[in-house]
Symmetry: C2
Subunit: 199 residues, 2 copies
């Protein structure tokens, strides 16, 4: 059983978080999901719906997998030193760290992606990547794995990445079964990036 | 500005709800999202994360669009006469009613789909369709539109349907732009059902 710590903050993007959690959640005997926030109040997502955390960052829990969504709120959180410190400490103890969309801005700003390959979304590529000048940013990628760090491209790409993580931790057949249950057409090739536009 | 009433209940499936709400949420000037539940307590989704409602069914609000997710909890809610009554009354006032996955069991049990074409997910097809013996169930469909009722196939199909609803209410270019922002490969053909298995 692996414990997933899924971070939320005001202005996180819904599908960045709940696409992957849908896929992990279908393996309830393999993954426990904990929603983590800095405060116990309901957290308002960018489109509006409010989510309650299960754990606080101050609880100082460790997680086997960290999942960091993107969203407009990352623009504020890149300057949240307390949260970046938490990310640094918890990433050191996690077996796997994954970000979706602009969530990679937080990992980059915390210094966790330095000298690693990583990606992020297309719309905010320049702004996001400015948070990690020492990161080897990949503009054409559905997702990128570098060691125990997985970073995905924009929003929906996180769902494809989450199935790749399931295949990585379990096997391809399990990931394919999950995709079938969710009636999800899995883009399983990290280099197949339908949204890349050549410069 | 259209007001979306997105129903939640214990055991609703995350992606059924948040895939569509991601897409509608990108048009913040066109759609207001209200999460609706029977009780003010946080509602636990099937995989675990807890969501807070914005409105209660007892508030007796009307909505332009009703969005009904599926999930294991629909097995209980098909016997919840109060909720079915609310669905009946609010559907009469809504311009558009949409269900994802086994959410169509609730619409069917409320009698709203009688003599209409509709679909649902593959895994629970026989159980779900037993709630609507007078519904013209379509086993091969990504989603089905019959008048102002849209019903989608399993989980991820709801996201494709939501973009079709955006195209229906606005235009194709708007839906395509939303899909691009979300880096989502939209299956835009309601008859292209990759998960249909011929009997």
């Amino acid at each position: 059983m692996r414990k997933i710590g899924a971070l939320i903050f005001p202005g996180f993007e819904l599908l960045d978080l709940f696409g992957p959690l849908e896929m992990f959640g279908m393996l309830a005997e393999q993954f426990t999901i904990r929603i983590v926030a800095e405060t116990a109040d309901p957290i308002k997502s960018y489109p509006g719906p409010m989510i309650l955390p299960d754990d606080l960052t101050s609880d100082n829990q460790d997680y086997d997998i960290l999942l960091i969504p993107g969203g407009d709120g990352t623009r504020r959180e890149v300057d949240n030193d307390g949260l970046l410190q938490w990310l640094w400490e918890k990433s050191a103890k996690a077996g796997l760290v994954a970000s979706v969309c602009t969530g990679s801005a937080l990992l980059a700003k915390a210094g966790l992606l330095d000298a690693r390959k990583a990606t992020t979304n297309k719309e905010e590529f320049d702004e996001t990547t400015s948070n990690g000048p020492s990161v080897h940013w990949q503009k054409k990628a559905r997702w990128v794995q570098d060691g125990r760090f997985f970073t995905s491209s924009g929003v929906s790409a996180g769902t494809d990445m989450s199935l790749a993580i399931i295949a990585h931790l379990h096997d391809l057949a399990t990931a394919e079964q999950i995709a079938r249950w969710a009636e999800y057409t899995w883009n399983r090739d990290p280099n197949n990036d339908p949204f890349f536009i050549a410069p």
